[in-house]
Amino acid sequence: MSFIVEHGPALAIAVPLMAAFATPLISRAGGRARNGVALLALLLTECILVLLFADVLSSGVRVYTMGATIPSLTSPVGYPIRIILEVDAMSALMALVSVTIALAVCIYSMRFMRSRDGMGYYYALLLMITVGMLGIVMTGDLFNMFVFLEILSISSGAIIAFYVNRGEASEAAFKYAVISAAGALMVLLAVCFLYGQYNLLNIGALAGVMQFTFLDKIALVLLVSAFALKCGAVPLHMWVSDAYSEAPAPISAALVVISQASLYALFRVCFTLFGAMPVIGVIGWFIIGLGVLSMFIGVTMAIPQHDIKRLMAYHAVSQTGYILLGLGVGLAVLGNAEAIGSFGIKAMEGAIFHMVNNALFKGLLFLTAGAIIYRTGTRDLNKLGGLAHAMPVTTCFFIIGMLSIAGLPPFNGFSSKILIYESVFMFSPVLSIIAILVSILTLASFVKVFQSAFLGPKRREYKDVKEVPVAMLIAMGILAFFIILFGLLPDLAVQWLIEPAAKALLSQLNYVGAIV
């Protein structure tokens, strides 16, 4: 067990990576073997990450130096060399969430994508997405963050175009690829600016020697803009509606977590790398602005949509706004110890909790949209109706997701939103009122979906529709279970998952000290 924990950071990336390369080959032995390998790899990764998370909670930050005889030996010559993975409570939490969603997506895909060709490549890409996400959240090295970002972008771009026979899917993938390349280029440029000045790539080491020069400010601007683009913040959200709606439905759920990985990178860069920079408050206000725009424009653009996946894609933008709002408030008061203690840390906890919750309820909603498409073959809400008669379990899952995203009690969305509302109210009541208004509009939008797709008399064209297969219900059930669990026991979720993550982000010294 101690071996797994000691090598946990490397194993968590290596297991899905090896499985990704193996699945196209194993595919030749049959679909069941391929599905089994993908599922087993993700289950194994989940187990490793659970152990790693428990270890990080009890022992603090865990570092892993690739290729070193002693994995914890990060600075053999006085400064960090080699690829170093650094896992604190924030990284471990995000890794755990990423793999849980990937696992649900894998189970769901076994039936949803069963009749499709090229499934060996599909699972390979899904596993590569997992590798990219885990790499971003666990690396302690800025250049490796760029590499994993590229792995994530290329594999997710390829899988968005999975329905290559549809022109729209290829177009969405093209847009995603261009946007990802532009963002990644800026990240690389920022890395170059920092490496050119300090001869360092390690985040902790860089944070320890940062001089806050003009070039550092440019690097900060490039990194914040690039990660805001990748997480789909307004006005950089234009790619989201295309990519989310054209990707296979389970991949849309995975794309939500991909956005969360970008948000993690934004958190890490702002708090750990540039947390001590005097102008970080300005960045906080800028992020608050992006958050408010994302919340409002996301939800108002969602309401008129009649393509169910496009509607949900705009809601993903809107929910990202809540996370940015909490993060922005935390950053804006970072230099003020009293404000951080009284409401800043709660705003950050709310933002981190909402990241976890968003991955769960948005993932569930995309899977229910997939269930509708699987049985009816259409995404157009104008053509749907009366599905609750034939798909009662899917309807229940949709209701759970709908109430959760709208922030209605007792679901998890309410727990994280109340943390954001109250802490943001202490900062600026207007921002809090906007956030509450957006929640009301979110509910209005999902009431429309619920009424259009599920209510009403049974339609003639859907008389043969029945409930989706068990594998798809299990995948939705996993996410619904966590939504209810975190909704009913938010104190335990905050105490064991969220609070340690928020404290880890604020403890820049711990992160730096683990390396240097």
């Binding site: 005097p278 424009i297 008129p304 109706g385 109250e422 009424q451 009913l488 104190d491």
Partner: protein
């Protein structure tokens, strides 16, 4: 106390909310069960309420909903549609614009 989430300025307990919900649901059920029990199929009693009009036979479509909301915000939506061109060049332009704005904000913030 299990389920008690401290929010900084207050608290939230979903388990108490669930208990209150069930008590309220029970009260509603009891009141409802004391109501009129007669059911006349084929009359207006079984029709969905549609502001006094006869509802469309194939139900209310999603496109019919929130007409007043869209009418009130017509200019906003017209502007939004114009911004969402779907052209990737525009996306990259906005990205560059955001970088410039952020750089200006950081530079000015540093001077203040």
């Amino acid at each position: 106390m299990i389920g008690l989430l401290k929010t900084g300025t207050g608290f939230w307990n979903p388990l108490v909310w669930v208990a209150a919900f069930f008590v309220t649901a029970l009260a509603v059920y009891i009141i409802r069960s004391r109501g009129v029990k007669k059911y006349r199929p084929g009359t207006g009693q079984t029709m969905p309420f549609f502001s006094g009009n006869r509802p469309p036979e194939d139900g209310i479509k999603s496109g019919n909903m929130y007409w007043g909301f869209f009418e009130a915000l017509k200019r906003y939506y017209k502007w939004m549609r114009r911004l969402h061109t779907g052209i990737v060049n525009d996306y990259v332009f906005i990205f560059v614009l955001v970088m410039v704005l952020l750089m200006a904000a950081v530079t000015l913030g540093g001077l203040l």
